[in-house]
């Protein structure tokens, strides 16, 4: 059956909202209330100085880039404070416990028969990658300290339709996950070629080592706790060390083959 834009538009729950809503009293009151206070009032002190007397020149891309840079400062201390850039391999018991926990969480939502592919630990956080029979991946970020685990975040991605070259990767690139509140993290998962021995991501100067297990890799790191989305996902460099000891560096999106 063909799907037309017209058909979809008939199902749009917002189609009855009038185009001139901004002229209604409620919208005018909202604008007046918001702009009655000084803007940029919650910037950290050290950044506020640079805002003094700010005047925006329309169309000046450099200003936009500079603004974005402010939102991308890597500050692992602001959330997931005990996160570590180097993961600790999970023991068999830890893998079984958190793998099972994640399977139950995802299978409750969408039964797929996920199998545990990888479990890693960074400080008090367990991170689990599951593989679905349909080729999808599912992830869980868990706080271990809670007696029954505490699901911080997680998501779906995939499938990965291609196999990596012996010295390469296939991935869905970096994705943002959050706890539904103020804590966000970035995750990246995928497959590594047979000759790949180690992966290290450069996250704003911090070397974040990935876990590599049986041809699958994963890494995650805290994102700034912010409601202000940056423009597009991170595209960090990843240094790939091969089994012969040589290494090379690429942007992770160069290996992006299937992101869902």
């Amino acid at each position: 059956m063909m799907i037309s834009t017209t058909d979809l538009s008939r199902l749009d729950p917002a189609r009855a909202i009038p185009d001139d809503l901004v002229n209604e009293p409620r919208a005018r009151a909202t604008l007046a209330e918001i702009t009655s206070t000084p803007p940029v009032q919650d910037l950290p002190t050290q950044r506020r100085g640079s805002r003094t007397g700010l005047r925006l020149a329309a169309g000046i891309a450099a200003a936009s880039i500079g603004a974005l840079a402010l939102t991308q400062v890597f500050s692992p201390s602001s959330a997931y404070a005990s996160w570590t850039a180097v993961p600790r391999p999970a023991s068999a018991a830890e893998s079984a416990r958190w793998g099972s926990w994640c399977q139950q969480m995802h299978n409750d939502a969408t039964p797929r028969g996920y199998q545990v592919r990888l479990v890693e630990l960074r400080g008090p956080y367990a991170y689990v990658v599951l593989g679905g029979s349909d080729g999808y991946e599912a992830t869980c970020l868990i706080t271990q300290e809670k007696a029954d685990g505490n699901h911080e975040a997680g998501g779906f991605s995939g499938p990965l339709p291609q196999q990596p070259t012996s010295e390469g990767l296939v991935t869905n690139s970096v994705r943002e996950v959050n706890d539904g509140g103020s804590k966000s993290a970035f995750e990246v998962t995928g497959r590594a070629g047979a000759d790949v021995a180690a992966l290290v991501f450069d996250i704003d100067g911090t070397e974040v080592k990935a876990t590599l297990d049986n041809g699958h890799f994963a890494a995650w790191w805290p994102a700034p706790a912010s409601l202000f989305p940056k423009w597009g996902p991170p595209n960090p460099n990843v240094t790939i060390t091969l089994t012969d000891g040589t290494s090379y560096t690429q942007r992770i999106q160069a290996f992006d083959v299937s992101p869902l």
Binding site: D7, T30, P39, N172, D179, L227, P233
Partner: protein, 188 residues
């Protein structure tokens, strides 16, 4: 769909407040609609007001191109909605209209009912992918930014979402008109 143009390019510099007001005027209804598709429409203006308040506090991060500014505001609204729904998996259900306006032809009513039934079975991740272009009117790059994924990722995600919706439609039994599809004779 509303066509988004660039912000006015004028010689010289412009005050941040002037820029914000211009963005507010141009995007307010779009942000309200974005929220109304994902929450009780009666609360959509609350979410929009909160999103613009957040944007005002981070005016230095407001993109200067209107399409990007609109997508940036959608991204803020989406995070507010995720927090509202306490969605740990970072995905939002996209709702359908309670009453669906169609013409008086029985075939058309049935087709819309089938589409609505398929949509309800569609995974949230697919709903979001389709709605960002079909309803919210974003470009691929803008939709990718709203979701926090790469443009490549979004393109493939959208393709898969469309395939999933078609597959659900193909597997849906002929319409039983069990949805609240309201035929509005003579209106089309």
């Amino acid at each position: 769909m509303k066509h988004v143009r660039g912000l006015r390019h004028e010689p010289g510099v412009r005050e941040p407040r002037e820029l914000f007001v211009e963005v507010f005027e141009a995007t307010y209804v779009d942000v309200v609609r974005f929220a109304a598709r994902r929450i009780d429409p009666g609360r959509a203006e609350d979410i929009a007001a909160e999103a613009f308040a957040v944007a005002w506090r981070r005016l230095d991060a407001l993109p200067l191109e209107l399409g990007q500014a609109r997508a940036w505001l959608f991204g803020i609204a989406r995070k507010l909605l995720l927090a509202h729904h306490r969605q740990a998996n970072g995905m939002l259900l996209v709702q359908l209209a309670d009453e669906v306006g169609v013409d008086g032809h029985q075939e058309s009513v049935a087709g819309i009912a089938d589409l609505a039934a398929a949509w309800q079975r569609l995974q949230p991740v697919h709903q979001e992918s389709i709605s960002l272009t079909a309803w919210d009117g974003l470009t691929g790059a803008e939709a990718a930014a709203v979701l926090g994924i790469s443009p490549v990722a979004y393109r493939i995600r959208l393709t898969r979402a469309r395939k999933a919706l078609r597959a659900l439609l193909d597997s849906t039994p002929p319409a039983t008109l069990n949805r609240r599809a309201t035929a509005r004779e003579g209106t089309q």
